[in-house]
Amino acid sequence: MKILIVDDFSTMRRIIKNLLRDLGFTNTDEADDGNTALPMLKTGKYDFLVTDWNMPGMSGFDLLKAVRADEDLKSLPILMVTAEAKRDQIVAAAQAGVNGYVVKPFTAAVLKEKIEKIFERID
């Protein structure tokens, strides 16, 4: 299980990386926006994407849409971890095909619950 963590703040990437490691996911890579993340995803090495929304360059929402529009990537599970808290944004993310939505600030327990829920559905 290889996971790509996309966030423009290195501290947040580090927090998520540590929490994922605690959950037993030790194989993670990082990217700082959608433009960096998309080519990495297209290598096909990743099984799961955790992304922020608000990033300079390509936003997480655009990344979500790009992944869903890509024939090879469209079934990749995506968890959004973001400070974006508008209802219409959450609805838009859901309609664009996000698998889970965690709003910042979040706890380790919430992250764990959402990730487990996503994998439950996939299995």
Partner: protein
């Protein structure tokens, strides 16, 4: 600003009184066919208009000067440098906050990443040893195994002392890393005060500008620009009081399950 308090709607009462009485007289003169007198009245009326306009322009110029002086951006004033440096200082200060909080977060995570393997190492070894210990108590252990356990427990005690004091050190380092809160808190309070000050002066300018619009009869076509939330708008402050904003993960979960998630 003190000069905002005596702001008034439209023209001054004496001017409107004069307008009203002269308009009435004008109507009466026209009705009575005294056109020469009527023409004189029209001239007087336009004089009243001009005078009140000049007076308003004079007043506005004075208020504008005062507002600019309050803003401390009067180019002739000696305070200009200081005022400008106050703004640069504010952005420097905020940059300092970003740096301080970033450093604290990284320092804390360094300590955590160092501590976690030690904590799980202690847990794993203690778990393994307690299983062996149970076997020993049940007398299921061979003498060779016992000697091995004896050696392992010895080593465990040594590493336990070292690792737990390392953990203690990391925890106190993490504690100290929170000192940024005091410093950044002070800095942010100072910047907040400056922003409030600027906001007040800006408000004064807005009030004055609307007054200019009022006496000149200017109407602005202000296009309502809707900001797309697709690019992301960042964290919501006072989420509980805002419409269309979730106030936490529970809200998100409710919303998503209402959508069939």
């Amino acid at each position: 600003m003190s000069n905002n308090k005596n702001r008034h709607q439209g023209l001054e009462p004496e001017v409107t009184d004069k307008l009203r009485s002269q308009a009435e007289e004008l109507l009466a003169r026209v009705n009575e066919g005294e056109y020469a007198r009527a023409m004189t009245l029209i001239n007087e009326l336009s004089e009243v208009r001009d005078q009140s306009l000049y007076r308003e322009v004079g007043r506005l110029t004075r208020s504008l000067h005062e507002a600019i002086r309050n803003f401390q951006i009067d180019p002739r004033s000696a305070e200009q440098q200081e005022a400008l440096s106050k703004m640069t200082d504010a952005s420097d200060r905020l940059e300092y906050v970003v740096k301080m909080t970033g450093n604290a977060a990284n320092r804390t995570m360094d300590m955590v990443e160092e501590a976690m393997p030690k904590a799980s190492g202690i847990r794993d070894e203690a778990e393994a040893l307690s299983k062996e210990w149970v076997r020993l108590r049940r007398r299921e252990m061979e003498p060779a195994e016992f000697r091995e356990l004896y050696r392992r427990i010895d080593l465990f005690f040594v590493s336990l002392v070292k690792d737990s004091s390392d953990l203690h050190n990391n925890l106190s380092e993490i504690l100290v890393a929170q000192d940024f809160q005091d410093l950044t808190g002070q800095v942010i309070q100072k910047v907040t005060a400056l922003v409030k000050e600027v906001e007040e002066h800006l408000l004064g300018l807005v009030v004055m500008a609307s007054h200019v619009d009022e006496i000149t009869g200017t109407v602005h076509d202000i296009e309502q620009t809707e900001i797309s939330s697709e690019e992301g708008v960042g964290p919501q402050i006072n989420a509980e009081e805002r419409e269309g904003v979730v106030s936490g993960q529970d809200d998100v979960d409710d919303l998503l399950s209402s959508l069939g998630f």
